[in-house]
């Protein structure tokens, strides 16, 4: 018979509550707490139960992992199951932490279960299979059955289905499969298109991960009094590129005084962006930084004022982290110089 090891926290390990949350990890032969039930539904013998305090695992991570690893080295096991952790945040993080360590060190399947609001889900769902569990221990049996059902398929080499069908949080991994219905991609995509045109619901096969939404800033109340700045990721700079902004994967940016100009002249400004053909922007930099049009709106009084500088960097190959940092540095000037709104052109 195959062998399993179950990880639980101090509470379910019957050590104690919050006062025992710094309990150092212990590995016990046999079954403690929920491991008793797991053993009845799993096609493997749960040989050992690991008990660790949630605070100990989350605040002394390296030590906790090391203690557990050194014990596991002595054992044979085919699968590792942690939790379920329900909505208990530290327990969820602890389950994710130990599962990741076990997976890396022993290369065995690791499974856990948490409620969707457990912070452990977002931290670890890409790394391992986390089943969608209930809010509290009332869901214990049900959550463990779901985990065991999948574990049994793994242990018996049965066919595994997609995340949604199996009930775990998507890891963002795509698999090639033969569909039972045999409908080819060309037919499926046309079906989707027809549904879309008819305004009906359809399910994409390639969901784009949703990005962090930013609260919408309050709009400008009166444009005719507003100070407007222009920024670009199109790499427009004075021809000598005084700030030595890189042509790709930029980490630097510059701001350039345009207070006495009505347009950006070719030969004075150019683009150093390596991600597009520079011919058009070099011949007329206004196609990327439309100073001529902005100045016209300023003269007409549509806007109160065009900010004295435009801001520039190169957006190709630039990481989101660098882009965010550069924007933060620009914002210091926007705030100090009372910019009311920003137009940013990207190429």
């Amino acid at each position: 018979m195959k062998k399993a090891i179950h990880y639980i926290n101090q509470f379910f390990g019957q050590i104690g509550g919050e006062d025992k949350a710094d309990f150092k990890p212990e590995i016990r032969k046999g079954l403690v707490g929920p491991a008793l039930f797991l053993n009845t539904v799993l096609d493997a013998e749960v040989t050992h139960t690991i008990i660790c305090g949630d605070n100990f695992m989350t605040s002394n991570k390296d030590e906790a992992i090391e203690i557990i690893m050194s014990e596991l080295e002595k054992l044979d096991f085919d699968i590792f199951i942690a939790g379920p952790a329900f909505q208990a945040g530290r327990y969820g993080v602890a389950c994710g932490t130990i599962c990741q360590a076990v997976q890396e060190r022993f290369n065995v399947p690791v499974l856990t279960s948490m409620h969707e609001e457990n912070p452990g889900v977002d931290m670890y769902k890409k790394e391992m299979i986390i089943f969608q569990g209930g809010r509290s221990a009332a869901a214990m049996r049900n959550d463990l059955k779901i985990v065991a059902n999948y574990a049994n398929k793994l242990l018996n080499n049965e066919e595994l289905l997609d995340a949604e069908t199996e009930g775990y949080f998507s890891r963002g991994i795509r698999h090639q499969v033969w569909r039972e219905d045999g409908v080819v991609a060309a037919d499926r995509v046309i079906d989707m298109l027809l549904k879309k045109l008819a305004g009906e619901e359809f399910n994409t096969e390639l969901p784009i991960p949703s990005m962090e939404a930013v609260p919408i800033a309050p709009p400008i109340k009166d444009l005719s009094k507003a100070n407007i700045a222009f920024a670009t990721s199109g790499g427009i700079v004075p021809v000598e590129n005084p700030d030595r902004i890189q042509s790709a994967s930029a980490t630097r940016w510059g701001r350039y005084d345009i207070s006495d100009m009505d347009r950006l002249e070719a030969g004075v400004f150019k683009t150093i962006h390596a991600g597009y053909d520079p011919a058009a922007a070099d011949a007329d930099p206004n196609v990327c930084v439309p100073l001529d049009a902005l100045r016209a709106y300023e003269k007409e009084g549509k806007i109160g004022k065009l900010h004295n500088y435009f801001y520039s960097t190169v957006g190709t190959g630039t990481t989101q982290g660098e882009a965010a940092r550069m924007a933060k540095e620009m914002i210091e000037y926007f705030v100090k110089e009372n910019v009311d709104g920003v137009i940013l052109s990207s190429t």
Partner: protein, 79 residues
Amino acid sequence: MVKEIEKAGIPVVQMANLIPVAKSVGANKMVPTISIPYPLGDPATPKEDQYKLRYHRVGVALDALAAEISDQTIFKVKI
């Protein structure tokens, strides 16, 4: 960059050719441009036409800064 500026509470509009990318990254106000190498003026057209297009789309972007929106919005351009 757009997201950081917006997070700072400064209204911002992104003029981009790849609107779906701007949208999936999380820009709230977007105005389409005509291409990547020449966002605001096709060099194959007369200078006056390029300026007209540029003037129009920059105007849309300025209006977008003053627009009250409740969701990600792509502002419509006429030329």
